[in-house]
């Protein structure tokens, strides 16, 4: 399916990441947003509020993030493509409903423009310390997809991907921006709507009937969704449920359901994966970096190559599910891994796990509030090569 031209602001623009994310959502077909203001994400919904009335969308500023995170799900079941937008403190409040979305397989996008944490922290400064929360923040087992853009252009492009993946896999997709990407202004090219691929809702092909199975999965483990109000008379619950959607309280139904919920992401991981690789062919040191840090390390790589050091960069664009296989492959040939993050160790642990002792791994941590100094990363690269 192609994008609805009404929402697509074709042309070259000079936009910040927050605004580009808004335009991405519009292009992706999002017409309903519920949100609650919080720095540094507010500009996304502010632009939504300005743009929506002209494209047939509705934005409601809710009373809090909890309301936003469940209202989008009501709207998703009402047939809309939806998102909510927040930053760390709001994300913490939304955790219960991320689990609800995962459990009920509700397609929806959560934008987190990360700031310095924990707690109120540094509201106007960048951080990348909500990455593990994105994966583990809600109680119980579930899987989500998380993308991490590094430029306003990607805030546009990947927001569309985020919506498409949420529809394709019926999971909450975490769009993990950060303050520096959100507030950074660059050229953003918005293509014609005919060049934008949109994943339509996986609408059920079944007819309404007494035996209708709301959660009968297709081959890829994802079930189709019914329209509301069309006679299916389906039931959606956050309780453990069978394929009809009815609550059943036992370990067998639990195993069947939750296993599928995690497997539909784990088993489709290679299809979901988006990575970027820079000069890995001959790299002795692999720098693994995502989001804004993946741009900072370009400078490190440049400085290193200038010194004759064989350094390459591996960037997971989709951070969750983590590109396990690729890291394992790289672990077979690289001499060392260096992982800079604006946190005190999060994705680093995944890299360390997957490298499994085959090469030294070094974290370059940073509390956030600013970006890494590329030279600090270089120092660690030099150390591991010594």
């Amino acid at each position: 399916m192609k994008a609805d031209p009404m929402g697509v602001l074709v042309g070259a623009h000079f936009l910040d990441g927050d605004h580009a994310c808004c335009e991405g959502a519009l292009a992706a077909g999002c017409r309903m947003v519920f949100g609650y203001p919080i720095t540094p994400s507010t500009e996304v919904v502010e632009r939504i509020a300005r743009r929506f009335p002209m494209v047939g969308g509705v934005f409601i500023q809710m009373e809090d993030e909890i309301a936003s995170s469940i209202a989008i799900q009501g709207a998703a079941w009402g047939g809309k493509k939806v998102m909510t937008v927040t930053s760390g403190p709001g994300m913490s409040l939304m955790q219960e409903h991320i689990g609800f979305a995962a459990m009920t397989e509700t397609p929806c996008v959560f934008v987190n423009v990360q700031r310095g944490g924990p707690s109120t922290g540094l509201p106007t400064l960048p951080g990348q310390a909500d990455m593990m929360q994105a994966r583990w923040g809600s109680h119980g087992d579930y899987e989500i997809i998380a993308l991490s853009p590094n430029s306003p252009q990607e805030c546009f492009d990947l927001t569309i991907v985020a919506f498409n993946m949420s529809e394709r896999y019926r999971v909450p997709v975490m769009f993990m921006m950060d303050e520096s990407v959100g507030h950074m202004t660059e050229r953003v090219i918005i293509p014609e709507s005919t060049e934008i691929d949109i994943e339509p809702r996986r609408l059920t092909r079944a007819q309404p009937s007494e035996d209708y199975e709301l959660y009968a999965p297709e081959e890829d483990l994802v079930p189709q969704m019914p329209p509301v109000g069309a006679g299916y008379r389906f039931h959606v619950t956050g309780l453990t449920h069978d394929e009809k959607g009815y609550p059943v309280m036992n370990a067998w139904v639990q195993e069947k359901l939750v296993r599928r919920l995690v497997d539909k992401i784990r088993k489709n991981a290679s299809e979901i994966a988006i990575n970027q690789e820079f000069e890995l062919e001959d790299a002795e040191v692999v720098i693994v970096a995502y989001g804004i840090t993946s741009r900072v390390v370009q400078r490190t790589m440049f400085l290193a190559r200038e010194k004759g050091l064989k350094v390459g960069v591996f960037r997971p664009v989709v951070v969750w599910p983590f590109p396990e296989d690729r890291i394992r492959e790289l672990a077979g040939r690289a001499k060392a891994f260096v992982v800079p993050e604006l946190n005190y160790g999060q994705v680093y642990y995944e890299v360390e796990r997957l490298v499994a002792g085959r090469a030294p791994c070094r974290l370059v941590d940073h509390g956030g509030g600013a970006l890494h100094d590329p030279a600090d990363i270089l120092k660690v690269v030099e150390e591991v090569l010594r």
């Binding site: 009404m6 309903m32 519920f34 009335p53 002209m54 494209v55 047939g56 969308g57 509705v58 409601i60 809710m62 009373e63 809090d64 909890i66 309301a67 936003s68 469940i70 209202a71 989008i72 799900q73 009501g74 709207a75 998703a76 079941w77 009402g78 047939g79 809309k80 939806v82 219960e96 409903h97 609800f100 019914p226 509301v228 109000g229 069309a230 006679g231 299916y232 008379r233 389906f234 039931h235 959606v236 619950t237 956050g238 309780l239 009815y246 609550p247």
Partner: protein, 288 residues
Amino acid sequence: MSQGEHRNPVESFLRMDRMPHIWCPGCGIGIVVNCFVRALLKSKIDVDSVSVVSGIGCTGRIAGYFKVDSFHTTHGRPIPFATGLKTARPDMNIVVLSGEGDLIAIGGNHFIHAARRNVDIKVICVNNFTYAMTGGQVGPTAPLHSIATTAPYGSHERPFNLPFLAESSGATYVARWTTYHVRQLTKAMVDVLNKPGFCFVEAIAPCPTIYQRRNRMGDGLEMMRFYREHSRIANGADTRSLDIEMGGEIVVGKFIDRDRPTYLEAMDEELSKRLGNRYVPYPTGVKR
């Protein structure tokens, strides 16, 4: 026999494959279900245009038994879920059916804000004065001195007067009935199904297993008799006067019935006025 052919009207509205339901003997929730079915029948609404949204609790289980598109959400959040659903589908009739703990304790903020915004949803709150599902903790309407597992020596918290709270928050329709008042409760439900805006019906209901047992108030029948004997109908009463005391009179009636533009109507008006033809109109609601 002819009676064999006459099905109980509720059956076509319920997921009979899930019966028996979990509610205890003498529980009032089933009565609320009965009234709601009758209200649907009376109001002649297309059932497929109705969706039931519940939170978590004994009452919250209603969504699971009602054979319409139904949503059993998280504890306290049926109202914002319904807000999302309603906004996406203004043509549908969205009914929130949940307990007073769900709607007014953990969900209190959503309640007052949805009422303020006049979101076009119908909120029917089963008030059984306790958190029944979790075994009888003190709730936001638990009468002073009532016993609960978390108020084992008697509650010392002033309870909410729900109609007063609903009015002050902006609800367009506010009524209170007990499950003894089946006809009036049904009528109130017909009213709200036909009325645009945020409508609130408090349905006071027996919970013999948990609330009454702990407070030595007898079984369901005893409570229903109590309602019959101790409630006073006072339509239009000042909502300030509707406090409920342990063993005291229960004032019931329709208290508020006023007209205000719904959220989407107000939005439509504001945007049309300010944006003229740059505005792409969004549908505002059910044809009533």
